[in-house]
Symmetry: C2
Subunit: 419 residues, 2 copies
């Protein structure tokens, strides 16, 4: 078969500058989360195909790269459907592997278990600009803590991390599935229609309040409920404070919203505010839905002004681990939009700290062995001082060589001649 | 399909302690190699199946995890052989992807190009103790430098890195395919038998000089050649110095060994010695063969006393990139045995620097929200001082909780009560 120079369709090579930025960001993330007590874990990139096809993954399950059976297990001539010829699949997220990991090793892990995962995932999506079939996800999860301390730690750790990466003036938007439900119930929607109502609500950003209104009415919902629901939103629209939002809602919703939920949310806001290590605002967003149906409580999302749309998010999913492991475990997670953060940093021509002062030693092709030894010794001393020293043979076209090196970030040159 | 708690056959989950050690080692490797001017790159974990089946990978090509075609491209009912139903495969090493990467991006890369790759590779090997089907490789390669400066930098960078990881008293064994060939030619072997002769020679460690003798004679080689060959080895057996070895060989082999090769090897030894930043010895090893037939010049291997066998190695492969890209590019690489290094560190109960002094804040379940805010503020200050602070709810069995935390490396505790 012919050799192809290109990466496989929809995947890409990562060149030195981007790779360096990725390493730097990964380092900051790991250091920051570690300072909060998160511990890294890793799982294989492949899972049993059965684990990936459990309907937990929604649409992503249609996008699995499947791995062919090997040896005698592969019976190609008897095969009738895909599942006859594959046994593994590439993971499409880090949540399914985490659930399996916790089911397998939970007894050996502390409670609560605070996990950090940074790893590649694969989705056989239609390739499109800025969207790749292999990309990196970065998740932190706290398993086994039923209290809002989990939310407080997740939000504080994530915002501290974003601050260390240089992001300012961003927002963490927060809501709670229980708040969403209380509002829908108060407006008179039936419980089995909540998910559909939330899907419309989620479009507030794009289609506006009139658009949401029309969509709900078109779907056949009672006009009175729709009006009551949207009137409540209008009232909340200018309320950015979580504490203020909860106060308004408690007054309006009465017993539809339990006091526990209101104080749960206010408690998160107060503690996050107190521990604030970055320039951001925690904002109550009653239109925040987050697509995944597995969320059971708090939900949150990162909004960075430079970047339209979400740059990560998460929430509480108390019922998911149990569906995998058979044992209920309260869980809450926050995922940073790793690829988007890299993109934002690269677009701002970010220079990794320490990369500003690289030195290049250019050595004459005829430099005798003993002089090369001297150069090596000198470089060793400079590197021990924390400098980045490149040693290269001097080209005939030295001017061009230096220009190339300057483009790579080398600002200092030293030349060694055979004299 | 049933949910399986286990990782897929032959792969494994990496628990917090090991994962932390791996992160640390990865960090030291990246920092060290960067200080030498190596730049990180990444390629997708999958390659076109044609790229992986080009006979460059030897036995590894039999161990490829293959990826099923998707959508309309998959015609299961018409399929006659494996290649009809797959289009991609999981990479089994980092050298094939590097060759493809250089073929695709060479024009945008500096010359020489100094690449660092740390990444997972997959081989569907028979699972066995300590050998997994997904594992991490760590390669540095210098492409485009025909001089021995490449070897000098690769060996110096690698040994500096091992030194920073705490390894002492290890050896770098070095030889050259051209030395091997000169010795075989001098003894009277025909050129087309060299590879087979080297395979026997490679077993010197295991079967001894008598074993090598018998094997070569059994294979039908001329007894005179075998004796002459092995007599030369005996003479070199106690010569550990590269300079000494080259001197002896130059005297013995005369024009079979070119002066260029002798001074090439001696030049490497002198410069590596001068730049020595770690406690190791560079040793001439005339029995060093390194299996891969693609090596064309210098070859080397790491031997760590605590670990029987090789802990990494590499060499010059001037003809390989060209076979992929159609353009000859001199190349030399060094691969650290990443998984073995992790194993050695874990067996020595290695503690990652900075992990000795973790603090755990235990907070009473009834602590009111405003007090939690105070705790968060205090933790933020401690973390800013570089400390690792875990905040957890106090369990009923506080003694057991503290024991668990101590086992995780928490040495300091602070308790917050609702009073």
């Amino acid at each position: 078969m012919a050799f192809s120079k290109k990466p496989v369709n929809g995947m890409r090579d990562i060149l030195p500058y981007e790779s360096r930025v990725r390493d730097y960001v990964t380092g900051v993330i790991k250091d920051t989360y570690r300072s909060f007590g998160f511990t890294p874990i890793e799982t294989p990139c492949m899972e049993s195909i059965g684990n990936l096809s459990g309907k937990q993954g929604g649409e992503n399950e249609k996008l699995i790269f499947k791995v062919l059976k090997r040896g005698e297990k592969l019976k190609l001539d008897e095969a009738k459907e895909e599942l006859d010829v594959v046994d593994y699949g590439m993971r499409y997220d880090l949540t399914v592997p985490l659930s399996r990991f916790y089911a397998a090793h939970g007894n050996d892990l502390p409670t609560p278990f605070m996990a950090l995962q940074i790893g590649n995932v694969w989705r056989a999506d239609r390739p499109q600009r800025g969207r790749y079939r292999q990309f990196t996800q970065c998740d932190i999860d706290i398993l086994g803590d039923p209290t809002n301390l989990a939310e407080i730690e997740l939000i504080t750790a994530t915002t501290t991390c974003l601050g260390k990466l240089g992001f300012k003036g961003f927002e963490i938007r927060i809501n709670d599935r229980r708040v969403l439900k209380a509002m829908a119930a108060y407006a008179g929607f039936a419980e089995n229609s909540f998910d559909e109502v939330f899907i419309s609500l989620d479009k507030m950003d794009k289609i506006g309040i009139d658009g949401v209104h029309d969509e709900l009415v078109e779907r056949g919902y009672d006009g009175g409920s729709v009006d009551k629901y949207l009137a409540l939103y209008s009232e909340l629209a200018n309320e950015r404070s979580v504490v203020g939002g909860m106060k308004t809602l408690s007054e309006k919703l009465g017993e539809y919203l339990s006091d526990d939920v209101a104080s749960w949310m206010s408690g998160i806001a107060a503690a996050v505010e107190a521990a604030k290590g970055a320039d951001f605002e925690l904002v109550f967003d009653p239109t925040l839905v987050r697509g995944m149906s597995y969320y059971t409580g708090t939900i949150f999302e990162i909004a960075i002004p430079e970047f339209g749309g979400s740059c990560g998010g998460g929430g509480r999913y108390d019922e998911m681990i149990g569906r995998f492991s058979g044992q209920q475990v309260p869980a809450c997670g926050f995922s940073i939009g790793f690829e988007r953060i890299i993109l934002l940093l690269m677009e701002s021509n970010f220079t990794v700290p320490g990369d500003e002062n690289r030195i290049a030693y250019l050595i004459d092709k005829k430099l005798p062995a003993e002089r090369i030894s001297e150069v090596m010794k000198e470089a060793d001393a400079a590197r021990s001082d924390g400098k980045q020293v490149l040693i290269v043979r001097m080209n005939k076209n030295k001017k061009f060589q230096k220009e190339q090196l300057t483009a790579q970030g080398y600002t200092e040159f030293k030349e060694f001649f055979a004299d």
